[in-house]
């Protein structure tokens, strides 16, 4: 997998922005504003991506072939402006799954050490 950015180092945890953007695209193609809104919902408003952070991360994910552009079209729910849509690639989905496993493992370890209110399932 071609990882070229310092925020996408193989074997290292993903940054919150990278992980949540991959997560936002897991259930379908989205344009920038929709990705930003999805990330806000995922994190209950704790992670608000600015345009620079969002498109800087998108640029790196494109270079690493973790997402791809799938053309421009208007979003019927917003306005008639054409917006560029992005899609998760197979590599991106695999990386998001690996990160999810890592986080799940970390949560499991936290519960074992009684650092979580929820019981171990």
């Amino acid at each position: 997998m071609p990882h070229t950015s310092s925020s996408l180092v193989p074997g290292q945890p993903l940054t919150p922005a990278v992980f949540h953007i991959l997560l936002a695209l897991a259930d379908g193609d989205k344009h920038g504003y929709a990705i930003m809104k999805d990330v806000e919902e995922q994190t209950a408003g704790r992670l608000k991506l600015g345009p620079g952070t969002l498109y800087g991360t998108i640029k790196r994910l494109l270079v690493a072939s973790l997402i791809e552009e799938v053309g421009e079209r208007p979003d019927p729910e917003l306005d008639d402006e054409r917006r560029r849509y992005y899609r998760l690639t197979a590599d991106g989905r695999k990386l998001a799954l690996e990160e999810n496993q890592r986080l799940t493992q970390a949560v499991k370890a936290a519960r074992l050490k009684r650092l979580s209110n929820r019981p171990l399932s």
Binding site: G50, G52, L54, I58, K59, L78, R84
Partner: protein, 435 residues
């Protein structure tokens, strides 16, 4: 769709801020970022009115500041000038501005020093050497690339550490300082003050370092014939300086000291002049480590070394003997050509001959200014003290400037080979490790 003056004003402002990003990045994402920002503005205004817009701007300013710098550092074409240079091309103006920062600080503070009663001496001469290197080290750490605009601060730091080094007694050194607490030691049959042993140590370090660097470059056949001639001239000038100073002091003191005392007196003087003459040559060869990447731009390292060479202000000791306006004019000319003219000319010259001229002419003017000032000051001082100077006294006063001039000739022949535009050195360990 909500649109009002808050949103329209914010759009205008944000469009202006987008210019801070690299051109290549803007071509791909400017329109998308502008649309996203507009969507965020409308949402913020819909939720909290103008307070929502202000809150959004607080986040946007941080976002733009961080990401614009990140994109400049990570976009290959945008980093030309900021971190890298295009081979055999002029440096873009954004890089020129960064190269000029140390010189501007020195030049402006020099004007301040000669026009007001504030003493900027320590700030400019010593402290600048330390704080100007900090952003360079930070960028080097973050990007693992040594920026081209870091060469002048590196030369300045080298000069500052060397200047401080000669003031430091060995007894203050950590771990080994306790061995040099005694007043004198027996060395080569002479009683030498431990305070003077620092010159022996420093001169030995310089000789070993210089020999290692020259040997490194000889093994890689990176020293052209022309450079050997300059190196030989440097060696001769250094030997003559040491011999000349020993002769001067020897003649002066021979009538008061016994032969044993005279040698003990002259020994540290010899070492001091060796130590005083070698660091510039060492720096010239350190510059070779950067020459593969920077070519002729490595000369900036030497400009950093020369930057603090003349610092005189309104209340300097020289003003007791030489008219203030003369000192000020000489110092400002020196500072102007070393700090401002030479760096711009060097990095904007489009060819090797142009860079050779850019390296030689401004620095030549600066050295001539320095020599003139030293000479005038010396003659003024001796005339005030009714001392009749010999020709040797006059020559030795300016001799170190001749060594530096020969060192600069050596640097030009090493960094700026006459016959081709290609850089002549192979990948040095230091730079390739940094890459």
């Amino acid at each position: 769709m909500i649109t009002n003056r808050w949103i329209v004003f914010s759009q205008h402002l944000y469009r202006g801020l987008l210019r801070l990003y690299p051109q290549t990045y803007r071509t791909s994402y400017e329109s998308e970022m502008f649309h996203l920002f507009t969507d965020q503005c409308r949402e913020a205004y819909k939720g909290q009115g103008w307070a929502g817009i202000l809150s959004l701007w607080a986040r946007i300013l941080i976002d733009v500041s961080v990401t614009a710098i990140r994109e400049h550092l990570s976009t290959p074409r945008a980093s030309v000038g900021l971190l890298d240079i295009a081979p055999n091309a002029v440096l873009p103006w954004k890089g020129v501005l960064l190269v000029l920062v140390p010189g501007l600080i020195f030049f402006v503070s020099q004007i301040e020093q000669v026009t007001s009663s504030n003493d900027w001496f320590f700030l400019v001469f010593y402290r600048a050497g330390y704080f100007l290197i900090l952003p360079v080290l930070l960028v080097w750490l973050l990007t693992r690339r040594f920026p081209v605009w870091g060469l002048i601060p590196l030369g300045l730091l080298y000069e500052t550490l060397w200047s401080y080094g000669q003031l430091t007694p060995l007894s203050r050194l950590p771990f080994i300082g306790r061995w040099f607490v005694g007043e004198s030691v027996n060395l080569f049959g002479m009683r030498i003050n431990t305070y003077d042993l620092r010159y022996l140590l420093a001169a030995s370090v310089c000789v070993i370092l210089l020999g290692t660097l020259i040997g490194y470059n000889i093994r890689r056949r990176q020293i052209p014939l022309g450079a050997w001639k300059w190196l030989g001239l440097c060696g001769l000038l250094i030997v003559f300086r040491m011999a000349g100073e020993v002769y001067r002091f020897g003649v002066l003191q021979s009538q008061y000291l016994s032969p044993e005392e005279l040698w003990a007196y002259l020994f540290p003087i010899t070492l001091w002049y060796l130590y005083d003459s070698l660091p510039f040559l060492v720096l010239v060869f350190i510059g070779m480590l950067f020459a593969r990447k920077y070519g002729g731009f490595s000369f900036l390292l030497l400009l950093g070394y020369l930057l603090p060479t003349i610092i005189f202000g309104r209340y300097g000791a020289w003003n007791e003997y030489v008219p203030f306006y003369l000192v000020s004019a000489a110092v400002l000319v020196y500072r102007f050509v070393v700090a401002l003219v030479a760096p711009i000319w060097l990095v904007r010259a489009a060819s090797t001959p142009g860079r050779q001229r850019a390296a030689a002419i401004p620095v030549g003017v600066a050295i001539a200014t320095h020599i003139s000032l030293n000479l005038i000051s010396f003659l003024a001082v001796v005339s005030q003290n009714n001392y009749q100077p010999s020709l040797l006294d006059v020559v030795m006063t300016i001799w170190n400037q001749l060594i530096i001039s020969a060192g600069l000739g050596l640097a030009v022949s090493l960094y700026l080979p006459r016959n081709n535009d290609r850089v002549i050195v192979s990948p040095p360990d230091l730079v390739s490790a940094a890459e």
